[in-house]
């Protein structure tokens, strides 16, 4: 017994993490087979997934056997690889569902954005590792922005929002865990909030034309439509920043004046991000935002998907209808059932037991990643684990949140369960890196 425990302690592999991953992968494979049973391309989907699994395992084992510190040392070439992939996909990629985000190769196709997400975390972690004690400086944040800004820009040009929806929060988690000044983090949050606010508010006004009767709202609606309006808005925000600074001065609350400059800049940046997102949004994506804002407005329309997914889950009950027996998924009422809505299939066929098992395995993975971060022998290992933790946390929250109506449908797969080779491989790769950190941990005693 003692021997076994010490063996485990010396182990190079975190078996719990591996077990959770394997468990999810097995469930995923079964559910995909069930979900696509009725599809005409069923064989192709299942075959692709069954090919992706060993590739993912290979990536996992490769990342595990590699010393993760090599990414720290070679972060610049790594960054080069990211840029090359993203520029390459814009040039050589093919369109699928309105986005140019696929490399179609003779035997398989891949989505470089998926791989880039993991690489970005590795690069950002390496950058932050190098900042040392300057981590609390605003310079770090700005430089990181300069570093990852082009990555986001390139992804937006595909456009692939769902990729950003995961990567951005993952980076925020990474920054937070790296010990960044919470004020700056708040600025990042404000940036995201402003960008999101404009997008959602414009969509809302677009949905309710009656509200545009009000002049102020009409002006607001048209803010992003012409350079004239945009310049006006920027001036207004700058003026607001100045007034705020002046008021604080009168109140004899002395804050560094660059805080105000920063706040103003963040709001302006958020505004332009919002304009950009609004312009880049596809009609179906706008529909999804609409469905989220008013879910019951048209059950046959955009919110139909979520409703059908909930019906599937609810009808499964506690034990589920059994694999390959779900009517909702088999008869096509649940859309995108083998990718974005795979959880609905799990819920329908395996019931509450299935969904809770998936949730539990995800929490187990998160716990193990955090534990590995704690055991990491250097700061880089800790940062990498934090970033990957943020990534899986975001995946989990958005997937479950979408299904229970807390998030809009974002078209985001659930790693290890959903069909999607690129996502599976890169997710396994990420866990391989975590295992690599674990294998090279501090061995106390």
């Amino acid at each position: 017994m003692m021997n076994y425990k010490s063996n485990l302690r010396k182990s190079k592999m975190d078996w719990l993490l591996l077990g959770a991953m394997a468990g999810l992968a097995v469930m995923g494979a079964l559910c995909i087979m069930s979900a696509v049973n009725a599809l005409s391309l069923s064989n192709a989907v299942v075959r692709t997934h069954l090919i992706a699994l060993p590739i993912g395992l290979t990536a996992f084992l490769a990342a595990w056997s590699f010393n993760y510190q090599i990414f720290d040392e070679q972060w610049k070439p790594l960054y080069g690889v990211i840029m090359a992939l993203l520029v390459g996909v814009l040039i050589f990629g093919t369109y699928q569902r309105g986005s140019k985000s696929w490399f179609v190769l003779p035997f398989f196709s891949m989505q470089p954005a998926e791989l880039c997400r993991v690489l970005t975390i590795l690069v950002a972690a390496a950058f932050l590792d190098r900042q040392g004690r300057r981590i609390r400086d605003v310079r770090t944040l700005v430089l990181l922005g300069v570093l990852v800004g082009p990555i986001f820009g390139l992804i937006m040009m595909q456009p692939d929002f769902s990729s950003i929806v995961i990567t951005f929060p993952a980076l925020v988690v990474l920054l937070f865990c790296a010990g960044i000044n919470v004020f700056f983090l708040a600025l990042v949050a404000v940036f995201a909030a402003v960008a999101g606010f404009f997008t959602i508010a414009w969509t809302y006004l677009y949905l309710h034309p009656a509200l545009q009767e009000y002049t102020l709202l009409k002006i607001f609606y048209n803010l992003g439509s012409s350079p004239f309006y945009m310049a006006g808005f920027v001036l207004l925000v700058a003026l607001g920043g100045y007034v705020a600074w002046w008021i604080f001065k009168q109140l004899r609350i002395f804050l560094p004046s660059f805080y105000f400059v920063l706040a103003t800049l963040v709001v302006v940046a958020g505004f332009f991000a919002g304009v950009f997102v609004d312009h880049q949004m596809k009609p179906y994506q706008r529909k999804r935002v609409e469905a989220f804002l008013a879910p019951q407005s048209d059950p046959q329309g955009a919110s139909y998907n979520v409703l059908q997914a909930q019906i599937a889950m609810g009808s499964g009950g506690v034990l589920g209808k059994g694999l390959f027996s779900g009517t909702q998924s088999r008869l096509g009422f649940v859309p995108e059932k083998h990718t974005d809505f795979i959880l609905a299939v799990v819920g329908e066929e395996l019931g509450l037991c299935g969904t809770l098992l998936v949730l539990g395995l995800y929490l187990l993975i998160l716990w193990r990643i955090a534990a590995v971060a704690y055991l990491a022998s250097d700061r880089y290992g800790y940062l990498v684990c934090s970033g990957i933790f943020g990534m899986f946390l975001t995946y989990m929250l958005i997937n479950f949140g979408m299904l229970i109506g807390l998030f809009p449908v974002a078209g985001i797969p659930l790693p290890f369960i959903s069909y999607g080779g690129s996502n599976l491989v890169s997710s396994m790769l990420a866990l391989g890196v975590v295992q690599s950190v674990y294998a090279r941990r501090i061995t106390s005693a």
Partner: protein, 661 residues
């Protein structure tokens, strides 16, 4: 190095705890969806995947006591093709070749339709509204063609049109929230037709069948995947009424052809209280509501829902003289042989009450037969109004009969006690009006039938009922049955009944009710003409009859609004009803004798008897010799003045129950 790490790890730990909390929230929500609301979502999922080609079940039939279905069903069939079955070209071609001639379709057109069905994958109607005859020829083919289904739809039909329409009622669409309030076990569909009135409404639960259907599993585009179940409908239960078909039809025909076409005729079995006929005119055809169309024209069609038989109240007029007579006999010291002279009017001191004719000297029998007002004025004035009111109460005047029909009116009791309760005076004129059934007395036709049946049964006041039984459609088990219920009795001496029966027989044999004299039957009857200050008078006729020498087995009350004469307007209807009930054919008789009608052998006898009458009585209903014009007009019994109590002399003012003289 280590100190910073602790700080860092605290941040990550915070996130881990938050992640755990988020996981708990998600788990709770999942439990909410999958555990607590499982049933709801399961129902939705089932709804999603099932499509039903409904087979409308037949509603239960409504039948008369002698087994004539007055509300039945007409089946029609729709032919469906489901591509879930075999769909190779050879099969389709064979199918088209076999079905096309039977459907009277072009083979090519049918094949084209089949191809369409295969392409779309949806359930496709190949032919609709097929007759049962076509369906039978198709039935044998269905065994060889598994993809083809025959779906039956049943529509309500009323084979005899307006037969007992006020009783039967009609169907209509459910409105608004009605659907939600319906019994879920009977699975009403949204477009189901439900009983809106009459028995259709009252026995909705019994009449409603359970729809069947072909239950299909469909995918999100409605493409048929397989047939889950082919469920046969279950018919609704049959409701048997106590109505006699021929009798009811005779009553309706008579009312329809009567002078104004407005009135009611009710027949009851005096031995049980069962309603044998319940006719109201004008009637309506319930099937005009059945057309399964939403045309506004059909919806807004006006009908006479007013059921005169139970909702119309009128003075009973001379038929009430029966009660006056009973009261007088029961009071004691009554001599039926005592002759009272009728000079055509009655002097009530300050006012003169007229008789409708000048009868001369009449005894009790002649007074009843000739419906002499003066005779009844005289005996009423002698005994006073209290005795009359007492007998009225025994017959339960002023109370509803208790028949299970909506909106029944109670009518009005007329008498000194009632008047006293209203803190008003009773005049001698009231006594006289009461004695001949005028004034404030009001009865419904069904009340009059109950009254007739109570007289016929010598004092048994029945609660009229029309439901015989409800029979289960499959097992034939009787689910519900009516029992006769006596709600009162008229306790008077048997000798009084004998005297009364004799007088009423005499009325039929020689008097105003001679129209209902039918050979082979013992018929008793009394006419009435209710004065109507607003227009033409109303005609009443009450009669009861049995086979010669036997107990009466039917009591009839006929009312014709504005019919003018009781004998002329209502009499022929009563006669036709009695004949229909007893199955007597009388081909020579005509409902409305024209002035030039040869006297028939059947009415020879009454003719003789009229001669015996002291006063030349054109009143006798018997057809007169050809030369006599319009017997109807003569029959009209003119009675006391219609004016409300004027009381121009103080002598007339008698307090409450006080006797007039």
């Amino acid at each position: 190095m280590l100190s910073t790490k602790i700080f860092f790890n605290n941040r990550l730990k915070t996130l881990l705890v938050l992640a755990g909390l988020a996981g708990a929230v998600v788990a709770l929500r999942l439990a909410d969806i999958q555990l607590l609301r499982h049933e709801h979502y399961l129902h939705l999922a089932e709804q999603n995947r099932t499509q039903v080609l409904y087979q409308t079940a037949p509603r239960g039939r409504i039948l008369t006591a002698d087994g004539q279905a007055v509300a039945a069903n007409a089946p029609s069939f729709n032919l469906y093709y489901l591509s879930a079955g075999p769909k190779d070209e050879n099969y389709l071609k064979r199918l088209a070749a076999d079905f096309a001639p039977r459907l009277q379709m072009e083979e090519k057109a049918l094949l084209a339709q089949l191809h369409k069905g295969v392409r779309s994958g949806k359930a496709l109607a190949l032919a609709e509204n097929l007759s049962p005859k076509t369906a039978v020829t198709l039935q044998e083919l269905l065994l060889y063609y598994p993809g083809v289904y025959l779906v039956e739809e049943n529509k309500r039909v009323y084979p005899y049109g307006s037969f007992a329409s006020h009783l039967v009622g009609y169907l209509g669409s459910m409105e608004g929230k009605e659907w939600k309030n319906r019994d879920l076990s009977l699975d009403y569909r949204l477009n189901a037709k439900v009983g809106k009135n009459g028995l259709e409404k009252k026995f909705e639960k019994e009449l409603k069948g359970r729809d069947g259907g072909v239950y299909l599993e469909v995918d999100y585009r409605g493409r048929v995947k397989r047939v889950i179940e082919d469920r046969k409908w279950r018919s609704g239960n049959d409701v048997y009424l106590t109505l006699n078909f021929n009798l009811q039809q005779a009553a309706e025909k008579g009312l329809k052809n009567s002078k104004t076409g407005r009135g009611a005729a009710v027949a009851m079995d005096p031995r049980t209280g069962a309603i044998l006929a319940l006719a109201t005119a004008p009637a309506f055809d319930p099937s005009m509501f059945v057309p399964y169309s939403d045309e506004p024209e059909v919806k807004s069609r006006k009908i006479s829902e007013y059921n005169l038989a139970v909702q119309g109240i009128y003075p009973p007029a001379s038929t009430f003289k029966i009660i006056t007579a009973i009261a007088a006999i029961e009071k004691g010291g009554f001599d039926p042989k005592k002759v009272i002279g009728c000079p055509g009017h009655y002097d009530a001191g300050s006012r003169v009450f007229r008789c409708w004719s000048t009868h001369g000297p009449v005894d009790f029998f002649e007074g009843m037969a000739g419906s002499c007002d003066v005779y009844f004025y005289t005996i009423a004035a002698q005994m006073g109004p209290a005795a009359i009111e007492k007998v009225q109460r025994m017959f339960q005047f002023g109370q509803p009969t208790g028949v299970d029909l909506p909106g029944e009116k109670s009518g009005n009791l007329y008498g000194p006690t009632k008047r006293a309760r209203n803190r008003s005076y009773w005049f001698i004129g009231d006594t006289l009006n009461l004695s001949i059934g005028q004034g404030e007395l009001l009865v419904t036709p069904i009340k009059m039938a109950q009254f007739a049946s109570a007289v016929a049964s010598k004092g048994k006041v029945w609660k009229p009922y029309y439901l015989d039984k409800v029979v289960h459609s499959q097992s034939g088990k009787i689910l519900k049955e009516s029992a006769s219920e006596q709600i009162g009795s008229v306790d008077i001496a048997p000798s009084t009944w004998d005297l009364l029966f004799k007088a009423l027989k005499h009325t039929v044999d020689t008097g105003t009710a001679a129209r209902v004299k039918i050979k082979g039957l013992d018929v008793y009857g009394k006419t009435g003409t209710a004065q109507n200050p607003h227009g033409a008078d109303h005609g009443w006729f009450m009669a009861f009859a049995g086979k010669e020498g036997q107990e009466p087995e039917i009591a009839v009350a006929v009312f014709v609004e504005f019919g003018e004469g009781g004998s002329s307007a209502a009499g022929p209807i009563a006669r036709e009803m009695l004949k229909a009930y007893f199955g007597i054919e009388d081909p020579v008789w005509k409902p409305r004798p024209k002035p030039v009608v040869a006297p028939t052998p059947a009415v020879q006898e009454p003719e003789k008897e009229t001669e015996k009458q002291p006063v030349a009585a054109p009143s006798a209903g018997a057809p007169q010799p050809p030369a006599t014009p319009q017997p109807e007009t003569n029959e009209t019994e003119r009675m006391s003045l219609p004016e409300p109590p004027p009381a121009h002399t103080q002598e007339e003012k008698v307090q409450e129950t006080g006797n007039a003289q």
